[in-house]
């Protein structure tokens, strides 16, 4: 049975276009246009949904309300769609449990890529987290605390490893500064962004071919970091 995508978007034309391109990829699509409609769908058809695309600006309220409802009971991946490129808002949504966000206008390729990543992480919050990561010759074995680059062991300090492991568990998704600082250093360090800058610099120096132009440990300016989604060994 094909995966079911729930699209909450108030603009009729954008909704029709998105529905079409998502269906072409083989997904089943349910759509809602208003907050009230979305709440009804959530009550009656909520169980069968595999992925949510949620527009923030709905005619009768903020899409954030749906996110809150969803997060209260379900672990389904949510990608937020926003008309404003506002880093404060992105951070708030990600910290509130959104898996990813897209800013209008976005390309279809970008949307489909984000959907694939979000679906891969489906359920990881409940199951044992990702334990193995591999891409561009970088291998991370989270259980064995082992990191290797092109077959050779890389020595990381315990903090560097914790930071890398946190990103690897959410590989492909952006992790906010706050989440990283809380999980790696602890609650009292959420304002110490400069720790992150320095440790990310060290990690890049050890793991990237060209640390000035990273292709694994990506920066999301003003929001957080993203480890590229895992790929084939190579």
């Amino acid at each position: 049975m094909s995966l079911c995508v729930w699209l909450v978007e108030d603009d009729r034309d954008l909704r029709a276009t998105l529905r079409e391109v998502i269906e072409v990829e083989g997904y089943r699509v349910i759509t809602s246009a208003t907050l009230a409609d979305a709440q009804a769908v959530l009550t009656h058809a909520g169980a069968g949904i595999d992925l949510v695309l949620l527009d923030l600006g709905l005619p009768d309220g903020e899409g954030e309300a749906v996110l809150a409802l969803l997060r209260r009971e379900r672990n389904v991946p949510v990608i937020m769609i926003s008309a404003r490129d506002d880093d404060g808002q992105k951070i708030r949504l990600l910290d509130a449990g959104a898996d990813d966000y897209l800013v209008k206008p976005f390309s279809v390729g970008e949307l489909l890529a984000r959907m694939r990543v979000a679906l891969r992480h489906r359920g990881t919050r409940l199951q044992a987290a990702v334990t193995h990561y591999q891409r561009n010759g970088l291998e991370i074995d989270l259980a064995a605390h082992r990191v290797a680059l092109h077959g050779e062991t890389v020595h990381l300090t315990p903090t560097e490893f914790k930071l890398l492991a946190r990103l690897a568990r959410s590989a492909g998704q952006v992790v906010t500064h706050r989440q990283l600082l809380t999980d790696v250093w602890g609650n009292e360090f959420v304002e110490h962004t400069h720790y992150l800058r320095l440790y990310m610099g060290q990690l890049r120096a050890k793991l990237e071919a060209d640390s000035a132009e990273p292709c694994l440990l990506l920066t999301e300016p003003g929001v957080g970091y993203r480890l590229m989604e895992p790929g084939n060994a190579g």
Binding site: G88, P158, G186, H194, M200, G201, T219, P221
Partner: protein
Amino acid sequence: MSLLDGYLDLANLAILLVLASALVSLSLSPLASLCSSAMAILAFNWAFVSPRGTLVVDLREQVLLLITMLAVSWIVALLMGRQRALAHEARRHAQQADQLRMLGEALRDARAPLEQVDLLGETLEQLTGGPVTLLIPGQDTPANGENRLLRGRASIDQYDGLRLILTTSQAMGPGTGRHEEQNAWFLPMRGRTASFGAALLPVTDEIARSLPLREHAQALCDQMGLALERAHTLYLARTAHAEAQLQGLRNTLLAAIAHDHRTPLATILGAASALLEQNERLSSDQRQRLAATIVDEAQALTRLTDNTLQLARLDSPDLELRMDWESLEEIVGSVLQRVRRRDPERRVQARLAPGLPLLRCNAVLLVQLLDNLLDNALKYSDAGTAVEVQARQENGRLLLAVLDRGPGIAPEWRERVFTAFERGGAPDTAMHRGVGVGLALCRAIARVNGGQLYYRPREGGGACFECSLPLTPLPPHRPHEAPHS
């Protein structure tokens, strides 16, 4: 004194009595000390002046003695009383000056004078001992706007009285010459041009007669009035500024639409309608090219819109920027990642000095600045030539530059390119749309991050846009290893 009787003569005893009276007048009120000294002298006459036991005086010298005693005692008593009244007056003056100073300081430190309305109310209540009512008009129009009672309550008549003095700016109540029959003072809070509030102070008859007290209460009210007037003037200035900004934003958007939006829209419309109407007659290559044109032009339009909106936002008076510690390597890295999509030949090269310190800035804006400068550089220089991003530290500032080997900018255009809706050259020199908005935005971004952006010709030909940003020392605690779990 009777113990000393017999040892001392009458004159010495009289001196002692005068001394006692003087001592008494130190602590009693003038009237009481006048009475007590008169009584003492009568008693002295009774007990010591012969014939003893009567108020009759035998000798004329002794009459003179008694009168002198009385006169000296009274003079001392009156002088002491006067002295005490002066001291009391001085204390009251000091206290009032203190109250004025405290209110003045509180008003100066407050973000809005209305925060200190309770302090004014309490101070006035200390003066009169009764509950004080304060009326402050709405912010828009001092005299006619919506009025608010910020403290206490008022009867309908009293409310009307307060509103009346708001317009007349003249005090009413006992001692003021207006509405003497009232049992309360109505005091306006006067600014230089009008009244910005009114106070109602119920007074007892005794207080009502005190002119200095009323003058002091008026001074306190006027202090609040001046502060409210200042706040009101600021508010008007801010509103006017915001309105001008809004007008400016409207003009900017209109100019953007008129100047730069129509051409990409025309291209998109042309390509899309060709796809729709000539679909069967087009080869698949042609269809692909038309679709690519639509995507390219839509992206250019998106950039133009983003830049225009961001420019308007940065010009807004209540801009609040999130500043954080940022690494320039990271910012350049994420810009490169975006730019590579438009730079398949990898013309952009980054040359960053090693060990650059962290910057205190807004990363999203700096990314937008670099992205715009690189976009221009790629468009205006020939394919195959390199575009460089350089960063280095110099004299406590961080210098970030984007350099190309294109034609550069003619001297007369070097400042004008930073103005929105200008393009660097004559219309026929194939300049691209939206560059003016982009560069105006870049300059605004440099400004809000505490830096400057300027142009200089590059040695050996080409353009160099250099952004100089301030460096702030890092917070004192150095990063440490995370606690082991």
